[in-house]
Structures are given as C-alpha cells and as structure tokens.
C-alpha cells in the first residue's frame, strides 16, 4: 500500500529503474524499426542541381531504389549564376547511413554514381535515387560531391507527349487522305483495290499456270516426259553406273600393272631401258670429249688442219700467185691477157661469122651451086 515517505533518490531506486527500462524499451522499439540509428555513423554526400522540383528536406535518398538516408538540406549556393542556363546552383546535402549491409556506404556510392531526381509515383513526392558506383569510378570521401541528373518530370513528359500527339495527328490526317484516295480508286493502290482488271489477269495467269502444270504432269511433251518418264533417269543412271564400272576396271588394271598405264606405273623395263640409254649417251659424250682433246693437241687430219702452220703458209702463197696471174690478165699480157683485152680477135671472129651467115644464106638459096657433085662414071 502506498505509504507516506520522505521523497529521496534512495527511496526511489525501483521507480528510477522502471523509468530507465521504459526509456530503453522505447528506444529499442524505434531502433528496431530503423527510425533512429543507435551507435552508427552517418555519411554525407552532396550534389548540385539546377531545379529540385519541390524536393523537401527529409525526402528519401535511395541507392538503386533502396532507402539509405534522407535529404538533410537544400540551399542555394553562395554565388549568383552568370546566366539562367548556367544551372546547378542548388546544393543538396544528403545524409546516408554510414554502413550499408555490412559495407561502408562510401564504397557503394562512388565517383561515377549519379544522383537522379525522381518522382516516387505519379502523385508521390520527389526522391533522390543514387545509381550504384562501379569499379570504374573511384572511392569518394565523406562529404564528397557526386554528379546529378534530373529525370524528366511528369510535366516535361506531358509536354513531349503533346508534340508527339501533334505529329500523330498529322500522320493520321495523311493516312486518312491516303485511304480516301484508295477508296475512290485513285493511284496505283487505289486501282489495285478497286478495279478488277488486275484480279482478272492474275486469275487468268493462275489458270494458265495450272493448266501448264497439268500438261507437264500428264502431257506427252518433252517437259512432261522429263517429269513423268523415268527413261532419261534410268539411262543417265546406267551411264553413270557404266562409267563407274569402267573407272573401277581402270583402277583394277592399274593396280594389277596391266595395260600401258599400268605397265608404265608397275613395269621396270622402260625404266631400265631409259637408264641404259642415258648410260650410252654418257659414254658417247665422253668419246666426243676425248676426240676434241685430240683435235686440240693437233693429232690426226683435223688436228693438223687446225693446228699446222705450214698448210696456212702454202695456201697463202697460192693465193698470192693467183693474184699475180689475175694482175697480168688485167694488163693484157700473154695469150690469155690478149684474149681478154684485144678486140681484134673479136672483130675477126665477127667478120667470119658474118661471112658464114652469108654463105649459109646463099647455100640455102642455091644448094645446087654447092651440091652439084657430078658423079660420072661414064
């Protein structure tokens, strides 16, 4: 039962213990749900953007879509930008858990990570989604700045969609006019669709083709026989079979060493003969060589002819004598010389021949003058 006591810390030990345990219980409940982090470090990452699109302090920060922290502060940077599109003058400071699933967050968020501003849903608030860093990027320090990328907001998408819708409208107008023309039979496609000439032609062609095929299949012509008559095939088949047999036989003959080619390949006689011929040729050339050596040494007639000086001297003297004779002939010395040079003999002869001619002429005219041989016995 409650009794009046003097209030003092000594008498309140149980009360203090209960209060302490309740406080610990409350803290544990919040720690389990992750709203307060006991005994854990926080890391800070910064980024710059030109427009945060209504992002608030405390908005979620996600890594690959998983919540890892929150936006601590959004503020304008100190400098006023030089132009409207200089951009990225808003500094966003993000607070993230120091450890992510057993590894420091800084190992996952690297210099090639991008902070992307996203809508959490069509109606939801904006969040920052950080893309995971890869080994191509470098590790960053606590408080480092990463690059940002503003994803298109719903408004931007709607604006883009309006342009696209305008284009679609134009296209649908075009299509409409095209289909109208087709329906009214204008142009090639219109005629194709509306007029039956093409159909009739096509139909006729198909019918003719069909008939042709039927004729080929059943008809007596060349093509028909080619398709239906097996004779050609059989003959070709036989020919090829014979060819194969011939080749087999040739092959056999060759292998057995019969026939010209077979003997050529198998028989050694030809080789032996050729071999002996080459041997004889070899001998002959050796003899020629020896003969030539004799000629060089001046042995025998041929050798003397080539090597003996005396024959040359005799020939030379003969030539000189001949030269002297011809000189005398030239000068008209001696009988031969006069014969060549003196015209008297020619003239005498000429006169003689003229006289003979006259005589002969006369003889022919008057043969009796010359042939009146009187034989008178009585």
């Amino acid at each position: 039962m409650p009794q009046k006591k003097e209030l003092g810390l000594k008498g309140l030990r149980v009360g203090l213990l209960v209060v302490a345990s309740i406080v610990i219980l409350i803290l544990v409940i919040f720690a389990v749900s992750g709203d307060i982090t006991l005994f854990s470090r926080k890391a800070t990452v910064k980024t710059y953007m030109s427009n945060v699109d209504g992002l608030r302090n405390g908005a979620e920060v996600r890594l690959s879509g998983k919540q890892i922290g929150s936006v601590r502060q959004i503020r304008f940077s100190d400098q006023i930008p030089a132009s409207a599109d200089a951009g990225q003058n808003l500094e966003i400071i993000m607070e993230i858990s120091g450890i992510l699933d057993g590894r420091p967050a800084i190992e996952r968020i690297r210099s090639d990570s991008l902070a992307v501003l996203k809508g959490a849903g069509v109606l939801g608030d904006n969040v920052i989604d950080i893309t995971p860093g890869t080994t191509q990027g470098e590790a960053i320090a606590d408080g480092a700045v990463i690059k940002s990328y503003a994803q298109k907001s719903v408004g931007d998408i709607i604006n883009a969609a309006q342009t696209a819708m305008g284009n679609l409208n134009t296209i649908s107008d075009d299509v409409k006019s095209m289909t109208g023309k087709i329906r009214s039979g204008e142009g090639a496609i219109g005629k194709f669709v509306n007029e039956d000439a093409f159909y009739v032609n096509l139909n006729r062609t198909i019918l003719q083709t069909e008939r042709l095929l039927a004729e080929i299949r059943e008809g007596p012509g060349t093509a028909g026989r080619l398709v239906s008559d097996p004779t050609l095939y059989n003959q070709i088949n036989d020919t090829i079979g014979q060819l194969r047999r011939t080749v087999d036989q040739i092959n056999e003959q060759i292998l057995a060493g019969r026939g010209t080619i077979g003997r050529l390949l198998k028989d050694e006689e030809l080789y032996n003969r050729a071999n002996s011929l080459v041997g004889k040729l070899d001998e002959t050339s050796a003899r020629i060589e020896r003969t030539m050596a004799k000629v060089e040494r001046g042995e025998g007639n041929l050798g003397k002819l080539l090597n003996d000086e005396k024959l040359y001297q005799d020939a030379r003297a003969t030539v000189e004598n001949l030269k002297a004779i011809s000189a005398r002939l030239e000068r008209g010395e001696g009988t031969a010389g006069l014969l060549l040079k003196d015209e008297k003999l020619y003239q005498n002869l000429n006169e003689v021949s003229a006289e003979v001619t006259k005589l002969l002429y006369d003889f022919r005219q008057n043969p009796r003058k010359y042939l009146s041989i009187r034989v008178s016995i009585f």
Binding site: M1, P2, L7, R13, V19, L25, I29, F30, V32, S33
Partner: protein
C-alpha cells in the same frame, strides 16, 4: 524537482503493485469466483457501449473515407480501409478508451471508497490479502475481456461500415466484403489483439492504484476517479503509438 521526484515515486509504487499482483498469481488462493464475477461486471457490462461505439465508428469511417476514395475512383476499397483501420487502430483504442471511462473510473471509485471507509484495513486485519482479493481479479478480468470486446467491436464496426456502404453509398455488399477480407490477415489480427491486452492491463492497474492511493476522504475518491480516467486514457494513446510502431516494424513489414 519535487514534481519529477513525485512522478518517479508514483511509477515506483505502480511497479511495486504490479510486482505484487504478478507474484500473487502463483500463490493460492486465486479467488476464481471473484475473477468470474469481475469479468461479468467489467466485460459483459460494457458490451452495450462497445457495440454502439464500434457500429457508429465503422459507419462514420465508411462515410468519410468513401467520399475521399471516390475522388480517386477507388471507392471499391472502402471495405479494406474500414477493416484495416478498425483492426489495427480504432477497434483496440476506442474499446479501451471506453473501458477506461466506464470501468477504470468504477474500479478507482470502488477501491477508493473501500479505502476511505477502512474496509481494506478490516480485510487485512481478517487475514485476507486485499491485493489478491481485489486487484488481481480485476486485472485478470480486464486483460482477458479487453481483447474479447475489441474483436466484437471490430466485427460490429465492419458491419456498420457495410451498412453505410450499401444503404447510403449504394455499393454492393459483396464488393465491400471482398475488399474487407483482403485487409484481414494473421499479422493484422495478432497486432490487433496485442494492443487491447496491454491496454486492459493499463486500465486495471491504473484504476486499482488510483483507488488504493486515495487520500482525503470522499473528496479524494472523486479525485482518484478523475485521475484514473485521465492517466489511463493518456497512457493508452501513448502506448498505442509505441505498440503500433513495434507491430508495424516487426509483424507487418516482415
């Protein structure tokens, strides 16, 4: 400083009373008839207000939420919303606030009057432990009856919501029931039963403590009654927050 020391003193006394109750559970006699009687008085006696509270809460929830849901074109999830709200939050809290008002005040007034009229001293003189005889049965009765009444409150509330949806919002009852069924799973139900168990204990222990710590005659009894209702209501709402946090993170997110 004196205020803080006094607060810690009250907590200490409360903790000691709790300890005596817990210790008394394992020592005979247990006064089974007394427990049953308290269950009847505290539990069954409160059935009417719980039924009315639950029914109208469910109805007003359907009425309000259907209007908002209609804006988004998802009126068909009215049942889910009503059932979830009732099972998770409104059922336990409203039931226990009602119990705190009706039962907690009654316990404090009853025990306070007994203390003031020295019946408790007489009981102790006759060799009966007043804690085992008076406090333990009330605590057991409320710890068991609060979840029971909460279940009834949830059911009646969902029915109230259905009635409003079908008659006033012109939804087919099958849509409402199918949607409400989706809201109910084991974790929701377990979470919805942990809360009233804790709240029932809070109502009983605060009522008993207030009654047994009455000072200053019949005027003191009134003060104790008021204090019992105020403290237990505030504790219910504060503990509800912590329990919700714990249940969501442990049961519903896993």
């Amino acid at each position: 400083m004196k205020f803080i020391l006094n607060a810690i003193y009250q907590i200490q006394e409360l903790a000691l009373l709790t300890w005596r109750v817990v210790r008394g559970l394992f020592r005979p006699p247990l006064y089974g008839r007394e427990i049953l009687m308290q269950m009847d008085v505290l539990g069954v006696g409160s059935l009417t207000i719980i039924l009315l509270t639950g029914f109208f809460t469910g109805g007003v929830l359907a009425l309000n939420s259907a209007n908002t849901l209609q804006k988004f074109g998802v009126q068909s999830v009215t049942g889910e919303l009503v059932a979830t709200s009732l099972i998770r939050e409104l059922g336990p809290v409203l039931t226990c606030l009602m119990l705190a008002g009706r039962v907690g005040s009654g316990i404090a007034a009853e025990l306070g009057s007994m203390l003031v009229s020295e019946q408790i001293d007489a009981m102790r003189a006759l060799g009966t432990d007043p804690i085992k005889k008076l406090v333990t049965p009330r605590i057991i009765a409320l710890v068991t009856m609060a979840p029971t009444l909460t279940v009834i409150c949830d059911l009646v509330g969902t029915m109230g919501g259905m009635l409003v949806s079908t008659t006033m919002l012109h939804q087919p009852s099958s849509t409402y029931l199918a949607s409400a069924k989706r809201a109910v799973d084991y974790n929701e139900i377990i979470g919805g039963l942990i809360k009233p168990t804790v709240f029932g204990f809070i109502i009983a222990i605060i009522g008993c403590y207030s009654g047994l710590s009455t000072r200053g005659g019949t005027v003191g009894v009134g003060r104790s009654t008021t204090r019992s209702v105020v403290v237990s209501s505030i504790l219910i709402i504060a503990v509800d927050f912590l329990l919700s946090k714990m249940i969501i993170s442990v049961l519903l997110e896993s």
